[in-house]
Each structure stands twice: as C-alpha cells, then as structure tokens.
Symmetry: C2
C-alpha cells in the first residue's frame, strides 16, 4: 500500500471536498478538468489545487488536465473509502437516529451493525432496519463482533465511559457528537462534530458583521 | 460595543471550547483557575491560553489566575451568546428534527421559530412544539417575521435555492448541514457542518494508523 502518512492534515481536510466536486462532475459525464476550471468550481487557487493533488501523484497532464474518474478513485482510496466499515451507534435519541438514517453513508461502505441505548422506550425499536439494543449488552456485542467505528450520540456525561468500552472492544475510530472532549489512545482515530461550537462560531460572525455595519 | 473584529478566526474557533470548560468549572463551583491548570484541562499550552485570552482583555492576575465567572461571561458576550436568535429550519427529515430537538441550544438563546418541508407527510407535524409548515409558505413567513439564522437540512440539490430565499428574507447567518458548498453574500455568516467530510476524514486516519501498524 502506498505511504500516504506524510500528507499534511490540512490537505487531508480538503480531500473530501475535492471528492464531492469530482463526484458531481462524474454525474454530469465530464471526463476531464483543468486545475483552473477546478479552481473556479471549488474556490481554492489553481496552484493550491496542483500542489494538493501532486501530494499523492494525482498529476494533471499539460493541455489535458485531470482525468476525473481516476482522480476520484485515487482520492477515494486515499481516504479509505474503497473499504467497508462496521459501526455502532451509542445513544439513539434524535441525533443518533438521524445519523443511522443518513443513508448517504451506507452508499459509501459505512454500515451500522447495531445501536445501543439505556432508555427502555427506545430499546427494541428498529431504525433503518437495525434494532436498538440494551446498552448493557454493548461489552458482549463488542466481544462477538469486529467493529471499526464507534459513534457517540450520548450526552456529555456518559460519553467518556462509552468511549472506554468501545476502545476496549477494539474500535479503530470514534466519531463523537457529544459536546465534550474525549481521552483516548493515540492509535485510535477521533473526529469530533461539536454542533454547539459550530453554532456559537456562527453567532460570533453574525455579531461581527453587525458591528461592521453600525 | 467593543471591537472584536480583529480577533483571528483561529482564536474564535477556540472560544466555544474555552467556554465549555469554564461552564463545567462553574458547575463544580470553582471560582478561579490559573493558565497552567486550564492548560492541563484543555490541552492547549499555558502560553497559548494567555495569548488567546489577552486578545479580548481576559487578563489573569499574577498569583490569582482567571476569575471563571467573569471570563465565562466575557467569552459568551464576544460570541454573541448574551443575545437571542430566531431560527428557521428548512428540511425536517431526521437531521432537521434532531437539530430542532437539540434543546441544548434553546438554553443558550437560540429559538426555532418555524420549520419547513415539502413532504406532505411531515407538514403539520409538531416537533418540540413547533409546527412543520409547507415550504411554499417560506417567502411569506420571512416577510412577516425577523429571522436571524436559517438552518439548511435539505438534500444538496435544494440547498442553494433555499439559501437564496432565506437571504432574500433577511437572515444574518446560515447553518448548513447539506453536503454541498453554498454561494452567499459576504455580509451573511456561514457555518458548514459537512458530516460526510468528517466521516471521510475519520476513515483516512483509521487507515493511516493501520499502515503504521503493518
């Protein structure tokens, strides 16, 4: 396997975005695109785009540009989207259910294997054809199944305990929606989606714009 | 009003996080904290913390540290969280409903005034005591109400049209959950929560860790 570990995290953050645009271009049956045309679409400069894509050998050809299909496939492979991931969701309130239903993900090889909750009203429900299991069964479930990703949709006070169980159960990554920061070992990947932080940033920029106007 | 427009966006991104920790400390009845103690909690270096907080006059006192209550209030005010925001949600599938129910926000002065959808099965439903209205009524609703924030929970193909309507209707900020990039005027604030980008980054880091191990 190619060594992509030297690609900077700033580039990695941009790759899913490139991939989204390349996906749309494919859908429109476009075969190839120049870095200038990509720049007009995505908003990064053409030189930034060339630099980003050169990182992993996505070389455009002079006078031809990038082959969209192969660039899309390459970026997908770098992101690991040519593989399948088994996931569990812990916390099946509205947000957990929304994540479970976000079928977009399933198309990309992310499969929810089970969902867990402590609430007797939720246990036994079927969401997107996946049964909500009793949180008490999490340890045993993790023993009997190979799960790649644990998704945390609990409140912030339960999040660390859940993460500890998931890590003991062998997950390789945590996708955290609880509004708290988690402690976990360096060899387990972590992505936080802190909704309240995002909303608070939005409030800041709204007020900064108001100050400019006044 | 104090001019905070010179604070860098990197600092702004960290403020909601400081605020979360200060909130927890308040709840534990802690009165004051040194930059070193804050550093141990949050994980930023003490000198980074002093630099960040000096940006807006949050000076700690030698031998005393920061007063938690006043620092919390100051950061809240900078973020504009001492004000109330009226919001509409467009798209009331699972994600839209999850956002509507995320009551955490209401406590901070973010109020959902109305929700909209095109789906006859959803129109008329009450979620968190807010009725889902017909999307056809959005223009008129925006004419008759002052709305600060529009929340986009539609699919990506509808997102830009919805944003255009909301901007014409006078919103000051857009909180976008649709997996697409939006065009809007510079004086309207925009925060994207691209869930699929976040999940794809997670997949990348999982695979990078695997490569390290092998």
């Amino acid at each position: 396997m190619k060594d992509n570990s030297k690609i900077s995290s700033a580039v990695i953050k941009r790759l899913p975005r490139y991939r989204r645009y390349l996906y749309d271009l494919q859908k429109k049956n476009v075969d190839r695109i120049s870095s200038n045309e990509l720049s007009n679409l995505i908003g990064y400069t053409a030189s930034q785009i060339r630099q980003d894509l050169n990182n992993f050998g996505g070389f455009g050809q002079q006078g031809y540009g990038y082959n969209i299909q192969s660039l899309y496939n390459e970026i997908s492979a770098i992101l690991g989207l040519d593989q399948e991931y088994k996931m569990v969701i812990v916390g099946t309130g509205n947000l957990g259910q929304a994540i479970a239903n976000y079928t977009h993900y399933y198309k990309s090889g992310f499969k929810v294997a089970a969902m867990f909750d402590v609430n007797p009203k939720l246990i036994g429900l079927r969401i997107n054809d996946i049964e909500v299991l009793d949180y008490e069964m999490l340890d045993e479930f993790m023993k009997n199944n190979t799960i790649d990703i644990g998704i945390i949709c609990t409140n912030k006070d339960s999040a660390q305990e859940v993460v500890d169980k998931l890590c003991a159960g062998g997950v390789k990554g945590i996708w955290n929606f609880a509004p708290t920061d988690l402690n976990l070992s360096d060899d387990i990947a972590l992505e936080n989606v802190h909704l309240s932080d995002s909303l608070h940033s939005l409030a800041y920029y709204i007020n900064r714009n108001k100050q400019k106007d006044s």
